[in-house]
């Protein structure tokens, strides 16, 4: 897909809302929208234009706008909460400075929940059915509670549906989770810096049952990465000495410990979250391209079919002259010219039919049926010699009365005074019988009998007996 063919997420959202509405509640009346869409250059633009018009007319566009507004408000509100949570975390980690800070407890307060939730996130991402945890429900729930008005649920549904189609719902929620934790951690670090700058804290560690070596090792292992990032960390000597009692050369130790705590928070809390948030957003940006309407999908194919039919008007040639007119005026008009009384023939009869038809009296001359070019010519010759007064042409109503047949009927009728087209098997298809009736009516002077009874034919002969 080339770049000019891209549409904005907002437009894709409107398209999806219209799609959902039409598939859940039936097609919209889109005559105006379709008209406007016709001027759009490409199929995708046509679809978008139609959806934008439809959604503006029905208030879906304003519902989408409202959800966007409320959604951002909810996001900002959540982030404010996150900043608040950061300040509380910082305060509970460091305390008010009156009592020494237990570094183990401070570390846990700063990072335990953060790391735990990261682990949970990792596990859920491995599961194919992951939906993103409680946040999946919370943000949309709050947005839905706050946004009021018609079409809100449709707009929300479309938003989810878009991300679902792009297979990105879990990344939407991941981005949310990581941004919140990132905000919490950043706020914590800022408040910590502030507290550390303006208060004096002593750092201790305590144990009742464990050996000090365990603690020294633990700090050593955790320090490795922050140290690599350039944070100053206490060496094992200082760690060992910080056990329970605040030291004499406290100044340097304090700085070392606060650097270690801050470094741990940044390295284990902020940086991974920042990377994950960035990753989620990158994936979302990439996947958001998949939210554009898939013009080859069956739904959009049917929409396009209406905005942009696959066929076009007939070629430039003028329409044919309406219905053709056959000359049926007999060239032989003198009464005494008629040599035979009754002749019956058939055009392309069903081979299964008995010929001549039962019930046709012996006074009637029956000729062999016309079923080929040769028999046509033969028949015309025969009739030109026989010149019957009454001619019956049997036709099969199941056949289509085409122009060739009608022309033949007209040609044959030229040699007779009275002509009757006897339609057999006329009860089979009504549309064909109707077609025969209109077509034979156009041949002036020729009668039509659509009753499949030879007695009616005999009656007709009787009527025209002179």
């Amino acid at each position: 897909m080339d770049k000019s063919e891209r549409i904005s997420f907002y437009q894709a959202w409107l398209c999806e809302a219209i799609r959902l509405q039409e598939t859940q509640w039936g097609a919209r009346d889109d005559s105006k929208a379709r008209l406007l869409a016709q001027s759009a250059p490409t199929p995708l633009k046509k679809i978008t234009s139609r959806a934008v018009t439809l959604s503006q007319d029905s208030g879906i566009a304003s519902a989408v706008a409202q959800i966007k507004k409320v959604g951002w408000a909810v996001v900002i509100f959540t982030l404010v909460l996150a900043v608040l949570a950061g300040s509380i975390t910082s305060f509970s980690a460091l305390g008010n400075g009156m009592t020494p800070v237990n570094v183990v407890w401070a570390f846990m307060t700063l990072l335990a929940f953060n790391l735990l939730s990261m682990a949970v996130w990792c596990i859920t991402m491995l599961s194919p059915k992951a939906s993103g945890g409680w946040l999946t429900q919370f943000w949309p729930w709050l947005t839905r509670k706050l946004a009021r008005g018609p079409n809100i649920s449709l707009a929300a549904q479309a938003w989810w549906s878009l991300w679902h189609q792009a297979q990105a719902t879990r990344w939407v929620m991941s981005a949310g989770t990581h941004v919140i934790w990132l905000t919490v951690s950043l706020a914590t670090s800022v408040f910590m810096l502030f507290s550390l700058s303006t208060r004096e804290y002593d750092f201790v560690w305590e144990t009742t049952v464990l050996s000090p070596d365990i603690f020294v090792n633990w700090v050593g292992i955790l320090s490795a990465i922050p140290q690599w990032f350039g944070f100053e960390v206490p060496d094992s000597q200082i760690v060992r000495m910080s056990g329970s009692i605040p030291q004499a050369n406290a100044e340097a130790t304090r700085i070392l410990w606060s650097s270690w705590l801050l470094g741990s928070l940044i390295v284990y809390g902020i940086i991974p979250r920042a990377i994950l948030a960035l990753l989620s957003f990158l994936i979302l940006i990439k996947r958001s391209r998949l939210t554009a309407p898939e013009i080859t999908s069956p739904y959009y194919a049917s929409v396009l079919n209406r905005t942009h039919p696959a066929f076009f008007a007939p070629d430039g040639s003028p329409p044919p002259s309406s219905s053709f007119v056959l000359s049926t005026g007999s060239t032989l008009q003198k009464d005494d010219d008629w040599k035979t009384q009754y002749v019956i023939t058939a055009i392309e009869p069903d081979p299964k039919d008995v010929w001549p038809p039962t019930g046709i009296g012996s006074a009637v001359t029956s000729t062999s049926p016309i079923d080929s070019r040769e028999s046509r010519q033969q028949m015309i010759l025969t009739l030109s010699r026989a010149l019957p007064q009454c001619l019956v042409i049997t036709c099969d109503a199941r056949h289509t009365p085409d122009r060739g047949t009608l022309r033949l009927i007209a040609d044959l009728a030229d040699f007779a005074k009275y002509t009757l087209v006897w339609l057999r098997h006329s009860n089979v298809t009504d549309a064909h019988t109707a077609a025969w009736k209109t077509q034979v009516q156009n041949l002036h002077g020729i009668e039509l009998l659509s009753v499949d009874e030879s007695s009616n034919v005999m009656q007709w002969f009787g009527r025209h007996h002179e």
Binding site: E22, G26, H164, S297, P298, S317, T400, R407, Q439
Partner: protein
Amino acid sequence: MNDQRTLQIAVVGHTNVGKTSLLRTLIRDVNFGDVADMPGSTRQVQGARIALGRDTALMLYDTPGIEDSIGLLDYLEQLSSTDQRLDGPERIRLFLDSPEAASRYEQEARVLHKLLGCQAGLYVVDVREPVLAKHRDELAILSSCARPLLPILNFVANDSARTQEWREALARVGLHSVLEFDSVSPPLDGEEKLYQALALLLSPYQHTLLALQQQTIRQREARRVAALILIAGLLVDVAALRMRTTTETDALTQAIASQQNRVRQREHACVSALLNLFQFRQDDYLAGPLPLADGRWELDLFSQEALQDFSIHVGKGIAAGAAAGATVDVLSAGLSLGTGMLAGALAGGAWQALDRWGTRLLGQVRGFRELTVDQPILQLLALRQLQLLTILAHRGHAALSPVSLKEHAQQSLDIKAFESKIALARAHPEWSSLGDHFNESPARLRAIETLARTLDSNNT
């Protein structure tokens, strides 16, 4: 996509054999041309494009019917009975320049002119008609154009089809590759076979035609998946619907009526969406012009007959109850639903168990009940929609008679798998877009997809 010109194919044949019908079915558009069981419905050449991706790969031209082939062949012979020896196309060109081409054989001239301008022709045959002299002459004229012809045997599904007779007649004029394609009820893979046959006939365009064949298969599959998603969406909406009511008779009756109304409208919308998806007109299925307004149906969803028609067993309890189709559940405010997949499924099961033994007792205690749509109704809905899907997939866009649900074999449903998916939906009232607390979630979208797959595995 390639430097070749777009492949152009003329659809030719005797009058009233279904040329326009064939085109309608091929481009899946009921609005193309005029179709009537009358000769000469098509008077002018009309084109339809078939796209491959974003490019037009194939142009199909609908032509007027040939009506006077015997006369025309005579005239052609008369024209070429001069000293010079003319080959087929030269004779046709001679005819096109003649005065009769503008008057008596104007319609035929349009056809031949178009066929000469195309790379191939589809010769449509109505196999209900016997092979007559006029058809033989028609073939003789068309083969004079020296364009590859692929005979299409239309109406082969008809009882009075003379398929063999036609095959023999076509073989006599060297047309051995013949395609059976009923434009009213085309075979599922009819289009693919058509492209395949054309690819054999037109080797320079083989690449395009085979790509079209692949595209047809992909699109058919995509349509099927989309349709199943629509049906699954309907089922989830209906299964998850819960309406709260008191036990008073009036309120209950009112709630049931309201519930049934919502479900009927939802089913109607699904039918309408399916018709749209397969590009049929709305009146191809629905009996009345305003079915949504009054919600009436040919076969009412909640009637006992409808259930019996689909041989769904209705339990005694429901048949004896005041309202068939509505199951009254006890509202349990304390039970938290939707806490997770497993919990949801369990809750759904518990819900039903509760329904079996404790309805009356607990209902009296709490004074509230919840109305859900009963299992047989959901099965009926599923079967009916699946049946409609099958019919639409087999229906040609030339069909003029409306869809009747009785004309096709019944669908099968793996009740066990179906019920487990439905039970999950039942446990999530917020999944129903019919309910008052609808809330879209990825879980609902996933549930719809899973249910669609379940429906699919039963009916492939």
